[in-house]
């Protein structure tokens, strides 16, 4: 194919720029953690399927236990003490395990949360997706034990407006707006100029699309968002970290 005569020819980078870019690239790569996990997307459809499957299996096991009690002529064994424990015993193979520094925490969280988007985490009145993604974001941004987590149901534009003046593409999309308080560093942020520090802040906020479970917006700041138009936020902590104030 002949090159177009009226567009400029291919050119090399300006002298020294290739080396500068190369050094910058390697320096940025060196600053990043060895492996950055992708944010887990809680697949609500899969969750629903799993809920049905889990419930069916639980019911079957409970019936089996009841039959054993009824027909076995004695007390149930210690392994079969009730449906709740049976439900937790089922492994959930559809979740991708995420390892952070050798600690595999997602299966522990999600195997106990056989639930849909709006269902609650067993630890309290927190939607499962909010809990899982808050925990992920905290760990991925350098503070596994944030002081507290706040969340509220709202729309995307209201959530983003409470933190910045940005406009978003789908303003009325229903989201969970999640705010974590701690000490965060986004080591994987892209910014020009190798001398600059990684962005850091004490308030990490993000939105989760309530339909798809995807994280839509993310921000690190030093100031809490204005919740006045969002309603009263719910609050929880992960328990293993510092205590919620």
């Amino acid at each position: 194919m002949s090159p177009s005569p009226s567009i400029p020819p291919l050119r090399d980078l300006s002298p020294g720029r290739l080396e500068t870019h190369h050094a910058h690239l390697l320096s940025e790569i060196g600053r990043q953690s060895p492996w950055r996990p992708r944010p887990p997307t809680v697949a609500w459809t899969s969750l629903r399927v799993a809920v049905v499957a889990g419930a069916s299996a639980t019911a079957a096991a409970a019936i089996t236990a009841a039959v054993a009690v009824t027909w076995g002529g004695g007390a149930p064994s210690r392994d079969v003490t009730g449906p709740r424990h049976l439900a937790y015993a089922f492994h959930v193979p559809w979740t991708r395990s995420i390892t952070l520094s050798g600690r595999d925490y997602l299966p522990a969280v999600q195997s106990k949360s056989l639930s849909t988007a709006d269902s609650l985490h067993p630890g309290g009145r927190v939607p499962s997706g909010v809990y899982v993604l808050a925990r992920y974001q905290a760990a991925a941004n350098g503070d596994r034990g944030p002081i507290a987590v706040q969340w509220v149901k709202t729309t995307r534009q209201l959530a983003v407006s409470s933190q910045s003046g940005d406009r978003v593409d789908s303003p009325s999309r229903p989201v969970y707006f999640v705010v974590l308080h701690g000490h965060f560093v986004d080591e994987n942020a892209y910014y020009m100029g190798g001398a600059a520090r990684a962005p850091r802040g004490t308030v990490l906020s993000f939105t989760i699309d309530r339909k798809s479970g995807r994280v839509l917006d993310f921000a690190l700041a030093k100031k809490s968002p204005d919740f006045s138009k969002l309603g009263r936020p719910q609050r929880f902590s992960f328990g293993s970290g510092r205590r919620a104030k």
Partner: protein, 193 residues
Amino acid sequence: MAPSDASLWARARAGDAGAFGVLFRRHAKAIYNFLFRSTADWAAADDLLSIVFLEAWRRRDKELDEGNVLPWLYGIAANVLRNRRRSERRFAAALRRLPKAESEPDFSPAADEHVDDERLMRQALDLLHELPEREQEVFVLCAWMELSYEDAALALGLPIGTVRSRLSRARARLRELEPGRGHLEGGDPVSDQ
């Protein structure tokens, strides 16, 4: 003998930053020129070049066969350009309110060339921007960067037939827009098949 793209990529996937650096040196020029031909701005192309390769590093869990590395990098560059356009639209109003910075004169020998390049490229892009964005991307990759249909399809994540049809529509519209010029016409991309 220089290592292949695929072997370098395999090493990069295992965390070898040096191998990724070799890939960068090998393909920086192609990506840099693609970015320029999409923005008509050498400085922007220079800035975006780092972002493209950092994004490629971030997404290094992707498995790539031999011959697919460069098209995949083009695909990342196309995404970076789309994000940039979105950001530009979002902040254009704010930027317009800022006072214009005094431009520093550049007396380097390449400066004249660069100014001419940008003027020429802006003219070409002004015309290209009359097309839908999806056709622009296909046209830049196939006609200006001389990618094959297969590679352009890989870069943009499209079926080959879609690439062909979009390129055909783009050329037809450009002919309608500028019947006398015809300088945007490129030849047919080389098919791998």
